[in-house]
Symmetry: C2
Subunit: 438 residues, 2 copies
């Protein structure tokens, strides 16, 4: 496609808008994540000698075009919402204005990064909401869709409020707290569960969590209590036990009772195994005696809805508004802005999409701002802790009924008068042109 | 966990088994993929200086242990089914025998690679089955869960029988045929659809597919016919038109009729947009006039079931069989083999899991063989085309009722007498030990 542009000398500046057409089922909002990776990718955009050789070997490309590609860098402008902002269906989250080939060749990369980070950050935020103040940690790395996704999930879930990750690689890369996990194989490599717990306690005297379901959960809790008492005699405290199978609700009551009876009130009960926001909410609604959750596969793949209906659409070419009319997929024309109304309690009260050059209406905040100009980043990267704080603040400002994990209310998003009028006019012109009456 | 092993001097040889506990809904089989990546990962296993520094900075690890890690390489033995073999629930696909820490530290990496490749290869094989001989190509890269997943999907889907990929990076890396796609933005950057088609045809005179739904699909098909006639006058043929929205079934009839009426019988009708194996089956059952399919998000994320219930469990430690008893999660002990019965028609007729040292029963094939010894690969990597042929042969040999995309029959998998007896005995011993009667 880029070659067809190049050969037709279609090289003018174009603007593209990145947005989500429909929110996934049960989502009342999305958490924008991935901006840092997107900016890094745009910044580093180039085709290496190896890439060019590989493209040449396909026999599809003109030599002049390959030379053009070898020199291609991203020189455009990017406007975006800050990373960790909450947003809604149809709102432009990020807009690119650049020579059309540059803006086009980054489509797949940009959409993929946006989709992965944002979907995972949103799923994680829902889990944090369901956990209602209890600790949640990331155990997903074994079954995410690729190693890349595991690292992104560790980052995205930390932004959304997780306490740590078992993914040591991601912990090191991003400075996320690492949480140790003990697998069943650790237990089965010892002659007895007691011996396995003793050994683990010797290695991590102040930071141990015992997995108690390898053979028989009730017996496992008893063994944990035995070892916890030995630890206490030596001046250490067991941190937690972890339930990983069976009826987690019933077992949590038993575990809590046994620990309390043994004077181990400070030892936490953690739960894991097939959890997601729906199951966590059910456990807590039924009074589950659970202090923290380890979540894996269902959350790390956003299993109930493993993608976003995101698109990257041309909204302006060579100064003229463009749109796609395909059934149910009509796009809003022009370079846009999102104005967010804030009420007296500092809560978000509704958004209006307008043109980027419209004045910001009173009582609203304009969400998109320049983050890249002439292909150069304008700000330093935000730290992960800044993003985490922003995300927490954003979710607080969102009305509670939009945060519900089932059947949330729809947050109101409208279109400015100017945008609506222009949209109507461009559409009429297009329809006339298609009908050949122009 | 590795540190706890190290400190407790638990360093003996262990065997781990990689298998899938339950097949995902509607799956009658799985296609094993990812072996090449797994062997590469084991081969390259090491902790770099940067990794060690990062681990040290977490403050959790003993200096002696970090020194041990810095020298750690994978020195074990791996037995596996050949990549592209079909397999079923509970069957060991790959087994690792190595000093326990080595075997343990590779768990996450190994499971992640296996899960991603195998899930995606299986999903793609189902699409090929549904497409019933028609061409299928990969359009998924925009919305897979990470760039990594996009590349893996391009590879896995080619093994499973896709004809090509729009992922130029993957096409170059693996030598997969690249298929061009035109986006709606290409159309909207021109003053008219006709002009856009003309330009594309000029760039790819013998390899053009026109996307016809940007404004109005019927009008788009008319425009495609106009340009196809111009191409024909110049000695070229339009390859195809592509429908990407609306009622694909109804539009396929209209498109076919209009193309045929214009003498364009050789111009193919392709369909894309939200397709998966279920929708493709529905379109074809209803006689859809569609010659090929482009599949994206739903297939590239295995959206109806975006993970495998795969596990990596210790089955032997220091020569002794081990097992986990957790509710519904009991594992089979010992280093195993899968014997596959082949009937007179060369079809697969049932599998038996036994110990690796059992003699291969008459009329069966033993599926696992050594692929790595002392940390070294024993064979050269298979070419992608070899894997593709093997996959095709494997699926042919599988009974048709096991290949159905809805409610497939369960393929019979049993356990050898020796394995069954030993399993019972180990379990009894364990239960006795837990009950404290031993």
């Amino acid at each position: 496609m880029a070659q067809a542009y190049w050969q037709a000398e279609v090289m003018a500046e174009a603007s593209f808008s990145l947005f989500v057409r429909r929110l996934p089922t049960n989502r009342g909002y999305l958490v924008f994540a991935g901006l840092e990776d997107i900016l890094d990718a745009l910044n580093g955009l180039h085709f290496s000698e190896g890439d060019i050789t590989s493209l040449r070997s396909m026999g599809l490309f003109d030599e002049g075009f390959l030379e053009y590609l070898a020199d291609l860098r991203f020189t455009g402008r990017v406007r975006a919402m800050p990373e960790a902002t909450v947003f809604f269906a149809n709102e432009p989250v990020l807009e690119v204005t650049a020579p059309v080939i540059e803006a086009q060749v980054v489509e797949t990369l940009l959409m993929n990064l946006f989709n992965t980070h944002t979907m995972l950050a949103t799923k994680a935020a829902r889990v944090v909401e369901a956990a209602d103040g209890r600790t949640v940690v990331d155990f997903a790395a074994r079954r995410t869709q690729g190693i890349d996704a595991a690292i992104k999930f560790a980052r995205a879930s930390y932004i959304s409020g997780f306490a740590g990750t078992s993914n040591v690689l991601a912990a090191g890369r991003y400075g996320i707290p690492a949480v140790g996990t003990m697998a069943h194989s650790f237990i089965t490599s010892f002659d007895s569960e007691l011996e396995a717990f003793d050994s683990y306690a010797a290695s991590f005297p102040d930071n141990s969590t015992f997995l108690v379901d390898t053979y028989d959960t009730m017996e496992g809790i008893s063994n944990a209590v035995v070892v916890a008492k030995r630890m206490r005699e030596q001046g250490h405290e067991l941190n937690a036990i972890r339930l990983d199978s069976g009826d987690l609700l019933a077992l949590s009551f038993e575990a809590r009772a046994m620990l309390d009876a043994a004077g181990m009130r400070s030892v936490q009960v953690l739960a894991s195994g097939g959890l997601d926001e729906f199951e966590i909410e059910r456990l807590l609604r039924n009074g589950g005696a659970i202090d923290g959750f380890g979540v894996g596969t269902n959350v790390g793949t956003s299993a109930d809805y493993p993608w976003l209906d995101c698109v990257y659409k041309m909204v302006e070419y060579d100064g003229k508004p463009t749109m796609k009319l395909s059934e149910d997929k009509e796009t809003l024309v022009g370079v846009k802005q999102v104005f967010r109304r804030v009420d007296a309690d500092c809560k978000y009260a509704g958004d209006v999409m307008g043109f980027a050059d419209e004045p910001t209406p009173d009582g609203t905040e304009a969400l998109l701002s320049d983050v890249m100009r002439d292909g150069k980043r304008l700000q330093d990267a935000s730290s992960l802790d800044e993003l985490r704080e922003r995300c927490s603040r954003e979710l607080e400002r969102l009305p509670a009924h939009c945060r519900r994990i089932r059947s949330p209310h729809e947050y109101p998003v409208g279109v400015s008068e100017r945008l609506e009028a222009r949209q109507r006019q461009v559409k009429q012109d297009l329809l006339r042109r298609i009908a050949g009456t122009e």
